[in-house]
Symmetry: C2
Subunit: 421 residues, 2 copies
């Protein structure tokens, strides 16, 4: 049977392709508790909220003296008010006395405030002696006064299920006494490059061959999505060998991404592999350029997504089609690529009957193409890109000033702190 | 000796503080080779450039027939040109024949093109039989023809020393046959929380105490910077205990970040700890709010940076002062925070005599404050922030529409793919 006989070559819209894949992709089965710091950058397995108000008690925001503000009324530069120091309260201690009129307590930053205190005067604004303190200005009620719960109310949300956990989450959860938190397991993503032309470094290149870069590029992308890549060596163009490798990966992986063998060449075996292993064919072609030849198969509740062997096309279809699948498996929300508007700064002269996607660079609202003569297949241009620019099907050339939609990428030079432009 | 006697309490400018710290911070000692995939997100130890042109040979971008374009001249829908198929060239194989006039070769995507071929016609545009192919339109020279080196010239730069390695770098380096690459070692950063008020979860909170969040927040920030945190339990306010803990961390760490004990309270022991351990005092106060009380010490070629015990202030001085130190130790470039312009969308009504820094949220050029009544000390507001907004010393209230400078953060919700706003 010719591989091309058994499912249609008609291209389906990108959104339909994503929907077909996601309908068949389960979320994670449950979460596991990890020590809080190990949970950094993982996907939250549950909503987490504040267990206590923060701060847990009214306290002092500075080193100084807690007093009744009414006692400071009328104090002036030449007319100090003197108060009795009745105790010193260190951070971590509890006040032993409540403040009577005319009394004050020396307090350290973070110390609990005594009953009766309604404000705090900074240490450096006073004339202080062991038992007495002189005050040279009046204070308002609750001046320099930190209320319990002012930073965070009990029950206030900290982390949402599906969010990637950042250092701010880790700090806030620690402040709530969490020492371990639930995270979703990392999905295992099988990666398989096919093609008799593929070699592995560092051996010198044999004429006619190329080094396999897809395996590395996709494994690195999988890691960036918070999943675990599982790979094999590149497989030659032989449907029986490829089918065996796919079946092996199916045993331990949650989905499989392959490259190569998806077009109409004599060695484009992936659709045939699908019938060898009795997988359900989902689609074979998507309305996008580059990367429109994608064979999607489904077996044993698992997606097998077969991308182009061209590294640039493979990257694009990975980002647009495999990304949502892996995010769903990982429990990350949102699952779908988020589109934001931008303003194109450079012309892209080609018509796009199929719908076109370009790796691009976004700086604020401005969107730049990585090089003047944009070469499809130029993996090199990817280095400086941080988003995907979408040109809808049927749209003609786009011009500088046109409003476009872009999908930000998470592994581009997102942080100017690290990434020289 | 009173701790406050031995170095000045006069606040120095932020830039001077960073300069003092960086003058004393060495770069990494050398790089180590790591397997290519393990190098993802590490800091590049050397410049790396292309060893071979990409593609390495002229090849076909699609499945079709390679021909001399001159042979297609005059071909039309009703006037096909027929060519002899002399061989089939698969990806990975070498052509065995050069093309004589009137001959063509069936080629697969990525296959090397035979001598004499000047273009490729797509398979689906032809009427093809085993030995003959009919062509119904003329082709231009080098139509559908991929030149060797068109994606990347030999010697073209791929990765710069100090860059964070992304999945695009990994893919490109694999395409060049690299299987391991040099990266800098991760610096070890000692983290030490001080304060008798600090407890560890999950025990219920004792009145007057709080859970230690600084240790977690800073360790998570250190990990985000690509460094390795080394921490101890929180230490009570006792200068001898703190000094011993600092000396222990100095044995194995490249720098130390502590929190607590830096202001003018009776238990603010960090300056005193500096004299206990014979460290050189660098500065004690920086022109910034929050986080202006910072005791910087230097011993055994290592920086000991003592931050405020207030988590929000600690986060701010970590990002502004410890960040550059850790990036220098890690070999990351650029070392200094990169400032970019933004347009404030909300008023910040306070005057800023000392120079003020606010965690904020940047969307395109627009800069938002995380909440209307911005509470200093509100670690909670950090969750939604992705940059630091700088208000220079002496600047009054800032208004919506004002141009401001922001420093993007690398661990905020940078990727809308992952981070619901």
């Amino acid at each position: 049977m010719e591989p091309t006989d058994y499912f249609s070559r008609v291209a389906i819209p990108v959104d339909s392709a994503i929907a077909l894949l996601l309908e068949r992709t389960p979320g994670p089965e449950g979460s596991t508790l990890l020590p809080l710091l190990d949970a950094l950058h993982r996907i939250a397995g549950e909503d987490l909220a504040a267990r206590i108000p923060l701060p847990p008690f009214d306290n002092s925001p500075l080193d100084g003296f807690a007093l009744r503000h009414t006692d400071s009324a009328g104090a002036g530069k030449d007319k100090p008010v003197f108060l009795r120091v009745v105790e010193t309260i260190y951070a971590g201690d509890l006040p032993r006395k409540s403040l009577a009129p005319g009394a004050c307590a020396r307090v350290m930053t973070g110390a609990a405030l005594p009953e009766g205190a309604t404000c705090v005067i900074p240490w450096e604004d006073t004339d202080n002696h062991p038992d007495t303190v002189g005050i040279f200005h009046a204070l308002a009620a609750h001046q320099n006064y930190r209320f319990h719960g002012e930073v965070m109310r009990q029950g206030q949300g900290i982390l949402r299920k599906g969010e990637r956990i950042t250092s701010a989450h880790v700090g806030l959860l620690a402040a709530q006494g969490f020492i371990e938190i639930p995270v979703f397991a990392r999905p295992r993503v099988g990666i398989l490059s096919t093609g008799s032309e593929l070699m592995s470094g560092p051996e010198p290149l044999i004429p006619g061959k190329i080094y396999d870069s897809n395996r590395y590029l996709l494994a690195a992308r999988v890691l960036t999505l918070g999943a675990e890549p599982v790979w094999t060596s590149a497989i030659a163009d032989d449907p029986a060998l490829i089918a065996r490798a796919v079946e092996e990966l199916l045993e331990t992986c949650d989905c499989i991404i392959s490259t190569g063998g998806v077009s109409v060449g004599a060695h484009d075996y992936m659709p045939q592999v699908g019938s060898y292993i009795n997988a359900e064919p989902l689609f074979r072609r998507v309305q996008m350029k580059p990367g429109g030849w994608v064979t999607a198969l489904y077996k044993d509740t698992k997606i097998i997504l077969c991308l182009s062997g061209n590294p640039f096309a493979a990257a694009m279809s990975f980002d647009l089609l495999a990304g949502p699948v892996i995010r769903r498996l990982a429990g990350a929300a949102p699952v779908l690529p988020q589109k934001i508007p931008g303003v194109l700064q450079e012309p892209f002269p080609k018509a796009s009957p199929q719908g076109r996607f370009l790796y691009a660079r976004r700086e604020g609202k401005e969107v730049f193409l990585p090089q003047a003569g944009y070469v499809s297949g130029s993996l090199a241009s990817l280095i400086s890109c941080n988003c995907i620019l979408q040109i809808p099907p049927g749209k003609g050339p786009v011009e500088p000033g046109d409003t476009v939609e872009v999908i930000p990428l998470s592994d581009g030079p997102v942080s100017p702190e690290f990434h020289p432009v």
